[in-house]
């Protein structure tokens, strides 16, 4: 204790500032936010079209589906799990919703509820296999990824169009100033805010962190980790259903081929947002930043006329950087 005090006094002002800056940078969410800001400033200097309300609204449009999926993915990854099935589960949900409404004359509201129930059921299935049968999440969700894909394709191979407006209402826009904003963007933001609140301010949320951090300690603290994990995967499944509804609203079709790379895209957003793949550390708002980083890079490089493969290349490099930071900071703390 006294050593530290002596040390403190001998420190020069610069050193203290440097230490404060290091501390600030290590706070969760600061790194990703800085990366997003720097990327945005860079693209703003490269092209006039970037920093317009219209373009930024477009960026948000492009990230709402993956961004919403990534909320569920964040919950799962915080428990030290992973969900490979989310894109396929979302596609199944959106095909069910649209098919029921268009081909079976089910009222859109009921069709949406049935779609949400099915994606939630898939989540509960994932959670039960992970928590009760104690299978690794990677394998479980690899299995349900294939199951959801096969079920979707057995059910439908062609896209469903001519959707009733009641099922695509989230694609409608309202304007703020000159900028048109879709209701879907608002839904995504609300999903993020609710998840953020629940994770930070409720027991359930703190238990999600605890179980990812030290499942044994969580169990010994008298928490049913089985029930907790099933609820996490179940809620994630429900969120994938919302993502499915946003997908339908955005594309105006029910597409059995949709979402095939969405699982990896959502993991990318989570990792870029600073959530640890080891579980227990991270934040859902970081994930939003992560999703926006991907969106900003794709959009900015596109506006600069750079071929799309380079966008993928940059995303890959960013992911490896983000995971390296996680690995290094984890080693420092363990």
């Amino acid at each position: 204790m006294s050593d530290a005090l002596v040390h403190d006094r001998s420190q020069s002002g610069w050193e203290r500032i440097r230490r404060n800056i290091t501390h600030f940078l290590s706070l969760p969410g600061v790194g990703p936010t800085l990366a997003l800001l720097i990327a945005s400033i860079f693209f703003a200097t490269q092209t006039d079209k970037f920093l317009t309300g219209r373009n930024l609204s477009l960026v948000v449009q492009q990230v709402i589906v993956v961004g919403t999926l990534a909320v569920g993915q964040t919950l799962v990854i915080l428990t030290a799990g992973i969900d490979l099935s989310n894109g396929m589960v979302m596609a199944l949900g959106s095909v069910i919703m649209t098919s029921l409404a268009v081909e079976f004359g089910v009222p859109p509201a009921i069709a949406i509820i049935i779609g949400l129930l099915i994606t939630t059921a898939f989540g509960l299935l994932n959670g039960s296999l992970v928590a009760l049968v104690k299978l690794p999440p990677f394998i479980v969700t690899l299995g349900t990824l294939n199951i959801a894909y096969a079920v979707t394709r057995i059910y439908r191979t062609t896209t469903i169009s001519n959707l009733p407006p009641a099922i695509t209402f989230l694609g409608n826009t309202f304007t703020v100033g000159e900028t048109a904003i879709t209701y879907g963007s608002v839904v995504m933001i609300v999903v993020y805010l609710v998840a953020w609140f629940v994770l930070r301010e409720t027991s359930w949320g703190r238990h999600v962190y605890a179980v990812g951090d030290n499942p044994e300690a969580t169990r010994l603290a008298g928490i049913s980790t089985t029930r907790l994990l099933i609820s996490v995967y179940g809620i994630a499944g429900f969120i994938y259903g919302i993502a499915g509804l946003l997908l339908v609203a955005r594309t105006q079709v029910g597409d059995p081929q949709a979402g095939q790379t969405a699982n990896l895209d959502s993991i990318t957003a989570v990792v870029l947002g600073g959530t640890s793949l080891f579980g227990g550390r991270g934040s859902v708002l970081g994930t939003l930043i992560g999703a926006l980083i991907v969106g900003v890079f794709r959009n900015g490089l596109q506006l600069m006329g750079i071929p799309s493969m380079y966008q993928v290349l940059v995303t890959g490099i960013l992911v490896i950087l983000a995971v390296s930071v996680d690995q290094l900071s984890h080693r420092g703390q363990a």
């Binding site: 301010e201 703190r206 300690a217 008298g222």
Partner: protein, 261 residues
């Protein structure tokens, strides 16, 4: 040892537990008196951990009875025992390193806000929990600056301090410490010794399970020696040496009859 003893806080009579053909407990008795530190020692396979698991609700004995403050109790799981004020500190530092001290102390026992914020929105009362945490840590004289720092940033001894503070805060009757220093270095172990004394100072009896004989002889008021599934002796550190204890533990020496009865 003929002076009249008060009612034991925790008592067991004739505990039996079989695992297949293996007899882990073969009619074991046990008593813990108010305000004492009782060490439980025994060779591997003596039924030491089975006994402790039975007393903390982690397993259900096949036969025998357990009394808490003189009343017959049955624990079906660790939560039952916890609800009756029996808390356990585990050897492997059962804390969540990414969560802060306050969150670890209140893990699974969080306090919610009053009113609508708590009942409808399920919001936690972080302020209340923080105040309580500061008090619990101060009670045990654990000098840690900030209760909002992640437990992962603490030393092993400080982490064990968090675990002990949690148990002491919620234990109304008994604190069980299962090899509390096994994962710690010498200096850190000293810290835990002080913690255990602090817990006794607060009037809570402690059951200390340890292989560390010097630790046992330093701390314990009485020592329960377990052998072949039974209690073979209860000794005091003043009357017996460590060598005697080890001899009784391994069966090389018979226990004094008065205490084995």
């Amino acid at each position: 040892m003929s002076n009249p003893m008060p009612t034991p806080v925790l008592q067991a009579r004739g505990l039996v537990k079989h695992f297949g053909h293996v007899v882990a407990l073969d009619g074991a008795d046990f008593e813990l008196y108010p305000g004492e530190i009782l060490a439980v020692i025994g060779d591997n396979g003596a039924g030491k951990s089975t006994l402790i698991k039975a007393l903390s609700g982690a397993l259900i004995p096949d036969e025998g009875t357990i009394y808490l403050n003189g009343t017959l109790v049955r624990f079906h799981n660790p939560l039952d025992a916890r609800r009756m004020g029996i808390e356990t500190v585990y050897q492997d530092l059962a804390v969540a390193p990414a969560l802060n001290i306050m969150e670890n102390i209140f893990l699974g026992r969080e306090i919610r806000r009053s009113g609508v914020l708590g009942s409808l929105f399920r919001m936690l009362d972080k302020k209340q929990m923080m105040n309580d945490t500061v008090r619990y840590m101060a009670d045990l004289k654990i000098g840690i600056q900030s209760m909002s720092q992640p437990v992962g940033t603490l030393s092993g001894g400080q982490r064990q301090g968090v675990a002990v503070a949690r148990s002491a805060a919620f234990a109304k009757n008994v604190v069980i410490m299962d090899e509390p220093t096994a994962a710690l270095g010498v200096k850190e172990s000293r810290m835990v010794v002080e913690l255990i004394r602090q817990v006794r100072e607060r009037g809570l009896p402690v059951i200390l399970i340890s292989h560390n004989m010097p630790l046992v002889f330093e701390l314990a008021d009485r020592i329960h020696i377990q052998r072949l599934g039974r209690r073979v002796a209860v000794i005091t550190p003043d009357e017996y040496s460590m060598a005697d204890a080890v001899a009784i533990m391994t069966g090389a020496k018979e226990a004094e009859p008065q205490l084995a009865s």
